[in-house]
Amino acid sequence: MISRLKAIMRKELKSYFNSPIAYIVTGVFLSAMAVLYFFFSGDIATRFADLRGYFSYIPWVFILIIPAVTMRSWAEEQRSGTDEVLLTLPFREAELVIGKFIAAFLLLGLMLVLTVVVPVSLSALGTFEFGQILGQYLGVLFYGGACLTVGLFVSALTKNQIISFLATALILFLLVAVNFLNAFITFPSAVASAVNWLSFRYHFEPLGKGLIELKDLFFFVIMGAFFLFLNVKILVIKKWR
């Protein structure tokens, strides 16, 4: 199973790095984060030496970056017809889905590794807390992982990359911003809690400041597992057809 996963992963990573997509998405991601952090967060001198401000933009930036990473995954296979070949190969559907997910996750990991330049360069201005930053990166990885599964699932539903991009962005926006409803509508407390529970941003907020709550990590694992499961089921249904 591991060798099959590796094979799919390798194929996916190759497709990311053989096209300009990985480089462009990474470059845009780094620039967007830098613009937001350095130009929209006030004077650096009045900020604490932590990356809280930086990570607070992650949920919003990921709304556009994650779909760009995942839009090709299944949509391109379907457009070019390689999905049928894939489904006839001796791979289980779950292996195909997980292999693609791991490849996208590794690309995301690489993008995040490059953001380490921010605290390293800023350490000339202040002393950063290693533990807090580590906690924040852990949170972003869980959050990003869950977002990727949404993108992969949506990509499996269509053969059009643009539709895949837009639909993923829309779903992510809804999942990120759903808890704003509580600011405008007074729900009964159980409904308000459910609305909060559904919100990706609500669960990311503590992680983004270095407060690791197991329930938030679990939330992203559960969401990720749920969308991967749906992705697998989409493939199974396609196979039956």
């Binding site: 470059g27 620039s31 604490f48 800023l122 407060l211 597992a225």
Partner: protein
């Protein structure tokens, strides 16, 4: 066969979804929280957590906060974090609301609760500074029909302590009764009220005690500012208050300061004041000397002058074991006198605060008083320190059974005043005293100007005297140290920030895209050569 496979898929699918729902519910019920910050920024102490057990109805905390303030200082975000930590740890017993009074049209409420509004400058661009009028950062804590207010919060230093002590007093519905007795002619009552009594109202209620009146035994503690003018007749009720278990802070020294423009700063010895005999009975002698501290610790006045008679004392010179001083900010002493501590049997004494090992002490010269002018301070220090320097105790904490200063003596009398005092108690029940060799340490006119830490020190002393030691174990949160302000020089700082922005905004993305272009070209070349 096909149908069987479908059924199997559906069943495993449903089981998987069921497991996810179960795992989700389980994680909500049994979550673990790890605060990744080394300072525990998002964690409140066990003392505060234990408070929640006593809360039967919900405590409502409202943080009235002008949201524009967030751009002026990141500390406001940390204030909100601590408040959230309370709400999150309380299992629903504390409810937090963050309210922008302007946006939510609740400015009137802010005014009614006495939350202070203040103007703040906000940097909108490199050159432009806009003013936020009527900004608020105050906390209202409500429980049943009672409430307490922290009128203005601008730091997280003592926030947890303030919140926990206020919640405790709200829930228990009892405030501490503190008496204060003033023997200082220039005591600024208005400033004292603004700085100490009003902000603590509800947690500690202060009442002025006049020396002609008795000291009510119902007081939880008594603070004596000065006292060198007290006669035995004035001191007797204080001694008997202590003998019946009363707890007292003495802030006194035997050098009376006269600060007049015509003659400069001058000190006269009042070492024969009866107060010092009383303190000696309790085990503390206040020497008729004035401390001169090393210039590094001395207060800076005027054009860079170091005035060695007024100085700060830091963590290095305080007891780390006693809760009063273990969480203390720097405190400032003004013309302090050294203590000699020799507790009688049955009593425990501890030096809470000392000078540095480089301090000197000045004695009165031939009965002519002390010349304490700024111009001669440095010379006097050098002269005395070259002769002898050492660490001098400045604050002592005493606990145990104290002998009465009036034991085996006649009850003092005053002509024309008749008092119905009961018989003299010869020894106290177990109690606590604090002696500070400085009558100006809590003097409002000095505290308000130069030493905000002294007010906190007074509250710590009162908490220790009145037994709230657990609250004192809540540590201070010194957040200011972590600002990104390592480079102070504005030009160097601007250059550093520009370089950092170029690296992150331009160089790094270009490098990534450049690698992409390079690998594309390499691939194309390889393909061409293969063809």
């Amino acid at each position: 066969m096909h149908l069987d496979k479908k059924r199997k898929e559906i069943i495993t699918g449903l089981l998987f979804l069921g497991a996810l729902v179960f795992a989700g519910l389980d994680s909500c019920l049994y979550s673990v929280r790890i605060d990744a910050t080394s300072s525990g920024m998002f964690t409140i102490s066990d003392v505060s957590r234990n408070l929640f057990k006593d809360i039967t109805d919900q405590v409502r905390i409202t943080y009235f906060f002008t949201s524009k303030l967030a751009d002026t200082n990141p500390v406001y975000g940390q204030i909100e974090d601590i408040l959230r930590a309370y709400a999150d740890s309380s299992h629903g017993r504390i409810k937090l609301a963050v309210v922008d009074p302007v946006k939510e049209n609740r400015e009137r409420e802010v005014e009614e609760y006495g939350i202070r509004q203040f103007p703040v400058g906000r940097q909108t661009s490199e050159e432009d500074l806009s003013l936020i009028n009527n900004a608020s950062s105050g906390i209202l804590i409500q429980y049943l029909d009672r409430h307490r207010v922290i009128p203005r919060v601008q730091s997280t230093d003592t926030l947890e302590y303030d919140l926990s002590s206020f919640i405790r007093s709200l829930v228990s519905n009892r405030s501490k009764k503190i008496g204060y007795l003033v023997d200082a002619p220039e005591f600024d009552y208005q400033t004292f009220s603004n700085l100490v009594t009003k902000p603590l109202q509800g947690y500690m209620d202060f009442t002025e005690i006049h020396k002609d009146n008795d000291v009510p035994q119902t007081l939880d503690a008594l603070v004596i500012f000065g006292g060198t003018g007290f006669t035995d007749f004035d001191l007797y009720p204080i001694d008997q208050y202590i003998m019946r278990g009363g707890r007292v802070i003495f802030s006194a020294d035997p050098v009376k300061i006269i600060n007049q423009p015509q003659i400069g700063i001058f000190g006269t010895s009042v070492e024969n004041a009866p107060l010092f005999s009383l303190l000696k009975t309790y085990g503390v002698t206040v020497s008729p000397e004035v401390i001169l501290e090393h210039p590094d610790l001395a207060l800076q006045i005027g054009n860079g002058f170091r005035y060695n008679y007024c100085f700060n004392t830091y963590q290095d010179f305080v007891s780390k074991d006693n809760p009063i001083t273990s969480r203390m900010r720097p405190i400032t002493f003004f013309w302090a006198s050294p203590l000699a501590i020799s507790p009688p049997s049955g009593e425990k004494a501890e030096t809470l605060v000392s000078t540095s090992h480089l301090a000197a002490a000045m004695k009165e010269m031939n009965g002519q008083g002390f010349r304490l002018d700024p111009a001669t301070a440095s010379l006097n220090y050098q002269r005395l320190a070259s002769d002898h320097k050492q660490s001098y105790p400045l604050v002592a904490a005493l606990s145990g059974i104290f002998p009465s200063s009036f034991k085996d003596k006649q009850i003092p009398t005053k002509e024309g005043v008749k008092k119905d005092w009961a018989k003299t108690e010869p020894a106290s029940t177990p109690t606590r005293l604090i002696v500070i060799g400085d009558s100006e340490i809590f003097s409002p006119q000095y505290v308000s100007q130069v030493s905000p830490g002294n007010g906190g020190f007074l509250i710590n002393c009162l908490d220790w005297l009145t037994n709230d030691e657990d609250l004192l174990s809540i540590r201070n949160r010194a957040a200011q140290d972590t600002l990104m302000a390592k480079i102070q020089d504005p030009d160097a700082r601007k250059t550093a920030v520009t370089v950092i922005i170029i690296i992150n905004l331009v160089a790094l993305p270009i490098l990534v895209i450049g690698i992409g272009v390079l690998s594309f070209l390499l691939r194309r070349r390889t393909k061409k050569s293969e063809r």
